[in-house]
Point group: C2
Chain length 335, copies 2
DNA sequence: GTGAAAGCGCTAACAA
DNA sequence: TTGTTAGCGCTTTCAC
């Protein structure tokens, strides 16, 4: 293995000079720097990250903690964050948790992250006070996407407002019986509750009653959205519009309606949240949230905090936008 | 920061004993081990990975090199591989390349991976001889998913056979004019070429001519599949069936047909490859490939090679399966 | 502008 | 069964 010593010998300098030259530090003459660079390239020298970390206390890695990586939203955010971080010279350590409580605990306790990363990016999770304390104790800056935590930088949409604008859209179309398909919250992300709150708030603001039987809960998946829609559509007095807390669930709902011979949007309007990459294909009306921007923004907040550890962490709410497509339409005339 | 020295003091033993006790090595009395474990827990001690790596030469991390992480197939494989690797105590370093040639070069040259990981998992890329040499020089075992490389462990489907079975299905339904939507190959993955070869081979085996104008190439995306289908359907003599090299492209093709007023499957049959998570929802006929199995298998091959470095790397081809759904049907009568 | 040397926190060989 | 000690390869201070 090529070490810094080999490079030093080849260039005829000390290892200290090699280190300085390779890091672009001052106090190295141009001639020397060139010689070192040439020797390093010649020998294909790559510094040992372990040794560098041990000596410097910096890992040049960022940990990403997310519940899933194989869900559109998370994959998109991770992808954009990774791109930004790598450009800044950081590696990405991935911790996708699934719904396993054990895993979640290990990730947040610091066992996995302590001394391993310079900063942490949390996605789509709403940590408890204990978890916040534990992760903060790891040492580096933490940024969170999809929730707001005091002391941490955060990027998110206003989930309640997004839900309200979705519901408002169908109310504007004349719908008065609006169903809700929400997700349960095994990872305690808070997001599902906020979207439900928005749904209810908008109904109330319109002077409409909140009917618990019009609310169905499942997972944030197509399949679960399908099942939830089936339940809603079998009600004695089914909704004429369904607001689903995610596009994946909305897609399932559209499919359920079609299979039941209920025409969308003639007999049933469906709206989701996300603007999933398949939403356009399926002609789904939705409230779009910017995923790339959230990933990049969070990455940059981390980068900023790494440079300036004492800066106040920012909390940014990015805008959502109603995207009207073909799954919503005027409320059907009363039968 | 708590170091091994603190634990040693608290337990009243030497640091060597702490190390042994924590690693479950023999030559530690039960009583001592208990005391050490208790002290470590009490102090919330977490060993420094950098120091451990430097001293032991092992990083306990696996690098995953993939072109995209935000594509269904890759996300699914990474997810399952990560789960398996983490269970074995390994961290995951993510390198998603995009289509940037520079990035690809950096990843394969070893600059990013050298001394950073114990093993590498390559997904959906077909490295050149130079790249194989460079990555092999990094030192640890390498496993590849979706291609076969001499000297590396590999897991994949038989892309040509998968394509042939898709084409056979529509031929069996009586179609004689079968279009192909393929993907170009900026990352040189070989996969697109094999699927096209399978398409042609099956036509020839059925005694049918190969019409270049029936082959459309784009990216592996819904949008690109849509555009390609539009081109095929505008031909003077359009195909009655389309085989797309991925489900995402097939979904785009279905949408293009519907928008053009062409009924699926009455006027046009469409079949893809993958069994994408949305395929069932969209009632898409496809050739399914097992994603979780591929991720887990590749991870286990790596784990095995780490334990037994001199074992012969295995090369596994996992089976695919035709899944007939609603987008394929009998060929329309000749007009 | 350059080099010598002291660690960083741990593992592993060896000694006791 | 336990402790001592020599590194692992690098960064960083300090002296020159």
């Amino acid at each position: 293995m090529t070490t810094i010593r080999d490079v030093a010998e080849a260039a005829g300098v000390s290892i200290a000079t090699v280190s300085r030259a390779l890091h672009g530090l001052p106090r190295v003459s141009d001639a020397t720097r060139q010689r070192v660079l040439a020797a390093a390239a010649e020998l294909r020298y790559v510094a040992s990250p372990s040794a560098a970390s041990l000596a410097s206390g910096q890992t040049n890695a960022v940990g990403v903690v997310a519940p899933f990586i194989n869900r559109w939203y998370f994959a998109a955010v991770v992808h954009s964050a990774e791109e930004r971080l790598r450009k800044a010279g950081f590696d990405l350590l991935l911790y996708s948790l699934g719904t396993d409580v054990q895993e979640r605990h290990r990730a947040f306790s610091g066992t996995l992250l302590s001394k391993r990363v310079d900063a942490v990016l949390v996605l789509g999770l709403h940590p408890t006070a204990d978890e916040v304390a534990a992760l903060s104790a790891v040492g580096g800056p933490v940024a969170i996407v999809g929730a707001k935590v005091p002391g941490w930088a955060s990027v998110r949409i206003d989930d309640e407002a997004a839900a309200r604008s979705a519901v408002r859209h169908v109310l504007d179309l004349g719908h008065r019986r609006v169903g809700f398909i929400g997700g349960d919250d095994p990872l305690r992300t808070a997001m599902p509750a906020e979207r439900r709150a928005g749904y209810r708030a908008e109904l109330i603001a319109a002077g409409l009653p909140v009917h618990p039987e019009l609310e169905a809960v499942g997972e944030f998946t197509v399949r679960s959205g399908y099942a939830a829609a089936v339940r809603l559509l079998q009600l004695p007095e089914p909704p004429t519009a369904i607001f689903a807390a995610s596009d994946e669930m909305a897609m399932g709902a559209v499919q359920a309606a079609r299979r039941a011979g209920i025409a969308v949007p003639r007999d049933l309007s469906v709206i989701g949240i996300d603007d999933h990459e398949m939403a356009e294909l399926l002609d789904l009306t939705t409230v779009a949230q910017p995923v790339v921007a959230q990933g990049v923004l969070a990455a940059e907040m981390l980068l900023g905090a790494l440079v300036e550890p004492d800066g106040e962490p920012h909390s940014v709410t990015v805008p959502t936008e109603l995207v009207v497509r073909g799954t919503t339409g005027p409320a059907p005339r009363r039968g």
